[in-house]
Symmetry: C2
Subunit: 436 residues, 2 copies
């Protein structure tokens, strides 16, 4: 893990570059999307054989399969999922939004109607990995928002099965249906629909590069949560932060994959040195040490800032997905953070607490996109409709202003729609008058 001065780090910062092209993957992904649109289930069947090495005759997890799977999950794990689900539900319920209206003047009523999406799809990665926590973190906000149909797609293993813990989490979260389909073909099916998989209004959830690129391609035909990149953590620590905690947290992030980024910012050079040693001490003791070592060597950094202001500016420039504040005044510092996915305040708010249990979704903006994106929440599963209601009198009062603006833009039929109401209720003659 390298130690860098702020100046050194700044010199390393590259210009913002484009993530908008990935030619080979895009070519494959576009062919898959096209085939699913043309051939429907038949294409899904072929791609599942090709990519997941299993020949499926039906994609839907039956209620029988579902029940049997859940019985395989031990009760400690089921209880843990239930506790997490309750916390997520409690937190997300705070975000429920309601219709509103104002009557700024008699005869004028304006507002917004809030409605849930009808049907959403959640992509859950499969194969070797299993992410029941993502099922809870992504499905419960949709449920709280009032979404009626929540469906999951996930690639099956070689026996044509979905991980029982994923199915248990899906049941707890109130998921409606689970389909055994993965990859870009799942994203295409969720967007355009096939004989068995219905098209959805929004697709959320993480996935590999094929899933991510497919989401980018179908965006616009369907809503998506985000274009997610590798996961990151940034810990702002002063010399009071237990060095073993900071090291363990950095390494927990690093175990996700080689591309993950772990950064510590500190104002104490001797602390940086201690942390570097502790990181080196802990790595070989961890199970996923190969991944962790690769990630830390490539992307691990300890950045020395001279003072809190420099540190806060650096954090806001990074806009990290996860930010842990392990200083003597973490609450005070948190109010100065403009850009971060989630802030973990104090020495005992370790990132895995948020990944699994506290309540806020662990689906967070990565790669600096916290500058313009929010954590997944109830607001991702609702949309709003403007309401406009003017009385006859109020429209007549407003008419000249509207006509002035419409005519300034050359949109004379817009002006006419107002004039016809202002000048003559029945408007039999207005156009004739104007054109005589």
């Amino acid at each position: 893990m390298k130690i860098l001065s702020l100046h050194q780090w700044k010199q390393q910062q590259a210009k913002k570059t484009s993530s908008s092209r990935n030619k080979q993957v895009d070519q494959d992904v576009l062919r898959i999307i096209e085939q699913v649109q043309i051939q429907g289930d038949e294409a899904l069947k072929q791609y599942t054989l090709q990519f997941d090495q299993v020949n499926l005759n039906s994609f839907e997890v039956t209620s029988d399969e579902w029940e049997k799977a859940i019985k395989k999950v031990n009760s400690t794990l089921l209880d843990a999922l239930e506790i997490a689900a309750q916390n997520i539900q409690r937190y997300q319920s705070e975000m429920i939004e309601f219709d509103w209206s104002i009557t700024p003047e008699t005869g004028v009523k304006l507002g917004q109607q809030v409605t849930p999406l009808d049907r959403v799809g959640i992509y859950i990665p499969g194969g070797k990995a299993s992410y029941p926590s993502t099922v809870l973190m992504d499905a419960i906000p949709a449920k709280v928002a009032g979404v009626k149909e929540i469906i999951i797609t996930s690639p099956p293993n070689k026996n044509g099965e979905i991980d029982p813990v994923v199915l248990a989490a899906a049941k707890i979260a109130g998921v409606t249906k689970v389909y055994k389909v993965g990859g870009a073909q799942a994203i295409a099916a969720l967007t355009y629909g096939t004989e068995t998989i219905p098209s959805v209004d929004k697709i959320v959830g993480p996935g590999n590069i094929y899933v991510t690129r497919a989401k980018k391609w179908v965006y616009g035909d369907v809503a998506i949560d985000m274009i997610a990149g590798p996961s990151e953590i940034c810990i702002f620590a002063d010399s009071n932060a237990p060095v073993s905690y900071v090291a363990a947290d950095l390494l927990s992030q690093a175990e996700h994959d080689e591309e993950a980024t772990s950064i510590c910012i500190t104002n104490d050079r001797s602390y940086a040195k201690l942390l570097q040693e502790e990181v080196n001490r802990q790595i070989p003791l961890l199970e996923r040490k190969e991944i962790i070592d690769a990630s830390i060597s490539q992307n691990g950094k300890i950045i020395i800032c001279e003072n809190n202001k420099e540190a806060i500016d650096t954090i806001n420039q990074l806009a990290p997905e996860h930010l842990q504040l392990m200083t003597t005044d973490p609450e005070q510092i948190s109010t100065k953070i403009k850009h971060a996915g989630a802030i973990f305040i104090g020495n005992y708010s370790s990132e895995p607490l948020g990944d699994y249990l506290a309540g806020p979704s662990h689906t967070l903006p990565t790669n600096g996109t916290a500058k313009f994106s929010s954590p997944l929440g109830v607001y991702d599963f609702i949309k709003k409709t403007s309401l406009i209601q003017y009385s006859k009198n109020k429209l007549e009062e407003a008419a000249d202003t509207i006509i002035t603006l419409a005519e300034a833009e050359g949109l004379t039929a817009h002006a006419n729609a107002i004039r016809i109401r202002k000048e003559n209720n029945h408007a039999q003659s207005i156009f004739k008058q104007k054109n005589q």
Copy 2:
């Protein structure tokens, strides 16, 4: 304007198709994006010469140019812009969101911090058309959200100028800077930055197919408002709705362009016939009759529904951008609408009222995307950060649950970050113990 039964209309509805490819345009757009990334201002200069036929040495509208332009705008129009701006500001201010937190148990604090985006870009179409109303409708929500830098890009005319009314609206709305750049090159500049144009966090605003495709390509590197399609109106009218009003409103939508769609839904076949006649009577009297006639012939429809339920179901299936309810009980019906960009309630809430004056943004989800998108609003210019704070005691209580979940996913370094806090505050030995 065709009259169709609901059954006939349903048969015409095509399967959801892909808008994700547009090969020739995409090739051009990608080349433009790449050149702007490599060459910066020099590329902007060349494309402005090529597409706008003007050779510019600097892109920024100077404060002198800005002031002179505004003096050219007549006071009636300036007053109208001011009135519209006040209404927009009043409405958008209702949507301001605040930080919140909960303390569900002693030692547990959870919440969200709400922060504005730092810098946003608004694309305003130029050339022959001028859309000062879009400046107000897109910039004021950003201003109300607290965005510090709001910049506009718009293609210059052949004299290298931006329409003075657009500049006046920009001044009223609190826009920071205006740049004379249009097309895909403007979108690239706003995303990646050039020597003179700073990169922004979000791009909003309408544009032609090049602008729209460029927005799709840069999405992910920057936030965008939506992939906008042609504009649509749906009017639900019963026989009490003045036929001349309904006709004028349908035609006001049709004047936007040939691709615009105007639909009336009614439960009265003789009313449909009257409306059809009135539409035919009004078209030749209107200034933009060629566009209107083309739009109405291609996309104009009167759909006959048997009852309110059928009508409401049809509207929810359409998810129209603009919905006018001109029935005897419009408020009651509005509560049953699930999917629409904006609902205009009653005979005097004509769409141009919303386009120019009432307050809600006229930037609305088109082409059925109201099923998953909202009108532009303050919420487009803020983002949220989750806050998680657990005490030592509460983390220790939660530790086993977190460890259970992390280990179920095979993320043992995550489990360790929690275990190290639970088992030993200084954790000098925990890994050794585990591995002995």
